[in-house]
Symmetry: C2
Amino acid sequence: MKENIKNKILETGAEIIHLKGFNHTGIQEILNAANVPKGSFYHYFKNKEDFGLQVIDYFNEYFSLSCKDILEDAAQPPLEKISQILQRFIEFFRSKDCAYGCPIGNLSQEMGDLSPPFQAKLKEAMDSMVDMYAGIIREGQKSGGISPLLDAGKAAEFLVSSWEGALLHMKIEKSLGPLENHQRFIFEYILKP
Amino acid sequence: MKENIKNKILETGAEIIHLKGFNHTGIQEILNAANVPKGSFYHYFKNKEDFGLQVIDYFNEYFSLSCKDILEDAAQPPLEKISQILQRFIEFFRSKDCAYGCPIGNLSQEMGDLSPPFQAKLKEAMDSMVDMYAGIIREGQKSGGISPLLDAGKAAEFLVSSWEGALLHMKIEKSLGPLENHQRFIFEYILKP
């Protein structure tokens, strides 16, 4: 029950922060939306910063879970796995009318310069995304779909950072065009035999 | 004199917004930093939103001016122009200890979903960056440094959005690595003969 209340605050707060950013979201606003009294917040979180750091973990876990079935599907070739992960997120943003963007990217933009604890935690989350893609790229290099000359770690870093930029671009284009353009350049020019 | 006060408010506000974001910056904070009385603000700007939209114009103009000499240097081949522009911004971020990022990108991330007037004005600014690079890429295709098979507009869009993502990544890495990685992939894999 207790964990349910904590999760409810995290889940509700994550959604509001995803859309509005961290600094622009008030604790009271989250508690109203979650229908939870203020005392509960301070029972589970030391302060707003502590809450924000736990929201990053929440987003990071959500991302890993979203990709798990694709990553573990031994029947899919590595390039197909990357394509399916990107496509799954493209469908998510289609369902959200091209709003929200990536919460890790949004918070990096907003908080990277303002809070060293946020910066460190966001770097951890971004690193784990990069590592996931680097692992798939290495698989693809072994099985032959991706050139062995490519530096897998650097290519994964470029894939992730250019995806973050495409999401940012999507938010002002209000179209999936930048995400489709990202896929096109990544697969036609970089991840190839 | 009057224009000086307006410019002072814009310049000071732009710098604070560049670091902290729009919603997290207060009018009073800008006026204190600019040492200008509150009445002056409302003499030049209808409200905070009107001010924010004029700050976007200010940033856009600053970007164009920063690239002007390189763009007009007929002695430089097109690929060299793109490299010099990116290198100039890399030096800027080196001098700023990898903070700030691109103000147009930051505001796109922050305001793209929250305000249709911001979204429209930011799209205009992003489009003008894309158009600038598309023009140089077309020059390069004519003179032979860049493959004629590349779609110049789409490549320019990818160059800009992946650059925006690299800047976001820089802010949490606190290193120029993501910008150098961007340059490497853009020139080794995409903008080539």
